[in-house]
Point group: C2
Chain length 213, copies 2
């Protein structure tokens, strides 16, 4: 799992890519490393260094050409390659993500949804095929699904991950309350995002902050 580009750089390049999409929507032609840095929260030097990992790219005056830089980053990081993904856990959050416009405009294509509740599956209105969670291994394998978004309750996350790995999944975005560790199985990338845990964290910071005043 060694890559020549450091992970924090890859992460920032992805952010720069999102930003360039936005600039393109606003029909902006050029952008400076300073303007990029301000939006992603780092200095302009750091932006230039991150971009330099991709090899030579011409600058115009004090900046970059928006569309050229976007294509450059996109090709190098494979952000123009379509990736098949699935959503596991079709509660409100899972359904919102399954049907989120941004996933479709990006390079992710949700091709399946899963839920343990058969009754729920029967009532969901969506163009995306939905299956019971017992079909995960077979469905992921048959459709060559690479990525999964977990929106299941924390206590069932580990079992679901086992099945996803069994089907050959490559990456998991974990939105359940469970913290999943990639070291449990190194062939899969796991990204833990605990939205509701963040709420608690902010609330606790605020409480303790109040005490120390």
């Amino acid at each position: 799992m060694v890559s020549r580009i450091p992970k924090p750089t890859i992460n920032r390049l992805c952010k720069i890519y999102s930003l360039l999409e936005e600039f393109e929507d606003k029909a902006e032609i050029t952008v400076s490393s300073k303007a990029i840095g301000e939006r992603i929260g780092v200095g302009s030097h750091s932006v230039r260094k991150d971009i330099s990992y991709l090899g030579e790219i011409g600058t115009v005056g004090s900046g970059y050409e928006v569309s050229k830089l976007k294509t450059h980053i996109g090709q190098r990081l494979g952000l123009n390659v379509e990736r098949k993904a699935c959503v596991v856990g079709l509660g409100k959050l899972g359904r919102a993500i399954m049907q989120h416009e941004k996933l479709f405009s990006g390079n992710f294509k949700i091709v399946a949804g899963f839920d343990a509740n058969i009754n729920l599956l029967e009532t969901i209105v969506t163009d995306i095929p939905v299956y019971p969670t017992c079909d995960i291994i077979e469905t992921v394998r048959r459709n060559a699904i690479e990525f999964a978004i977990l929106t299941v309750p924390g206590h069932s996350a580990q079992e679901i991950v086992k099945r996803l790995i069994g089907g050959g999944i490559k990456g998991i975005i974990n939105l359940s309350s469970a913290t999943l560790s990639a070291s449990m199985n190194e062939s899969v990338f796991i990204s833990n995002i605990d939205i509701f845990g963040e709420f608690r964290f902010l609330s606790a910071l605020f409480t303790l902050e109040g005490e120390n005043k």
Copy 2:
């Protein structure tokens, strides 16, 4: 903004709290630091150290009493205090979060939703009052709303944050694609969560990983 408990510890204590809720639901009476550590991805020593920041708490055999530890953490971190929150940006994701069951069972109460699109506001079916974004300052102030969840497009995030701060907001969970920095205004806690950026990041990792094989 100095707190006697380090931030990473506060973060882990919040995760432990979520976990204890889950154990309570499963009617488990005691839990060991090892079992907690396995679930939140740290060693048992680290779990015991985090819990020790809260002061003395009795252990039973090799573990803790689930309900006692939960009350202990909850009181110390103020997780039992109700916090008023709002959602800004009522697309599919914003609406899903506004109506998410977990927020209501936790200590956050969503008391308002905001969107720039007046037509959208008229069609939303919800028990929670919704307002146009131009009313943010007044509504946040009048209802003493402490926290906000941002699910707006990245380019409008900064302007919305200004208004939220104008209304006296204390903490922001930023789910937009923009990275917001707390240093722009130190009186507010900002937590950046870029779900769709995480997808890109995983996709890029996977691409670069493939190259290096």
